[in-house]
Amino acid sequence: MIANCTPESAQPGGTFSAGLRSSGFAEWNRFAAVNDEFIPLHMGDEAGRVAGYPGAIAMGRLQWSWAHNLLRAWLGTDGRIASVSMQFRRPLLRDAMFDIRAHIDVVRLVDTGDQILDLTIGLENESGEILAPGTATLHVFTPGGSVAGSPQRAQL
């Protein structure tokens, strides 16, 4: 992960990203196995071509998980994911390089002393074209700030 800020130092304009990588059937089949998603479009190039693409495409739900992975990795022990939204506008093809990036747009302080961060997120190809734009809201716990009953998430 590449980041120019931490949850504690988050300010508008802060960014973090997962780093360039690719994916293919090894990743997609594993996800199909746990999400019951053995859909031909994700399993073979011919079905992808029938659907109008150059070949098989990655599952939107797997891209969704990768975005959550990035948010969890950045939050570490300091917060939780409150919401995520993504649109899968362009296909992610097999072996294509991609990255997932997050940009902090707004930092809000709430009554508990915690911070709420509104982010723009996106899965983009190595040319910087956004294939899956989105948004996320993160709840960052401030030491001594969270009140009793505040939801606690997994701590990484």
């Binding site: 990743e27 797997l62 969890r72």
Partner: protein, 168 residues
Amino acid sequence: MPLLTEAMRAAVGSLIDWRVSYPVDESDIRRWALAVYYPSAPPAVFTDRASAEASGVEFVAPEEFNPFAWAVAECMRATASRRGDPDALECMLGLPPLAFTTQLNGGTSAQYGENIRVGEVIRAESRLTSYSERDGRVGRMLFSVTTATWTNQRGELVRTERATSIRY
């Protein structure tokens, strides 16, 4: 030629289905994490319950975890055999099939509430939120938005999720 019919418009707001998961197992969480982090190793908090809890960390599922994959304990109707079927939505709503050949995930939006923990039973209730249609590069496309509300066995809100499906 328009895809939307009066019957489809009238179905907006209708209950599509409900499902109740089997109790979430520690292995379900571990396998999910192994799959979504591959080829990296998942964080130990999703794979090693004992060490996570020994260090004061609660062992919970990743936020986006799906407890309904493959089989459910109870459901409003048997839909498992229609997984991936582009006409499944209309079938479940009692509408005539539209004979689509392709179904894509157009987008997902989720708000998270309570964590999903080992042993919990999750119920999801899905409703049709909207239908719309537009022209795309492959012809006329139908957009359907569904909203699912997930609760745990205590009735606490776990997730509210809107999913957009694109079919042509």
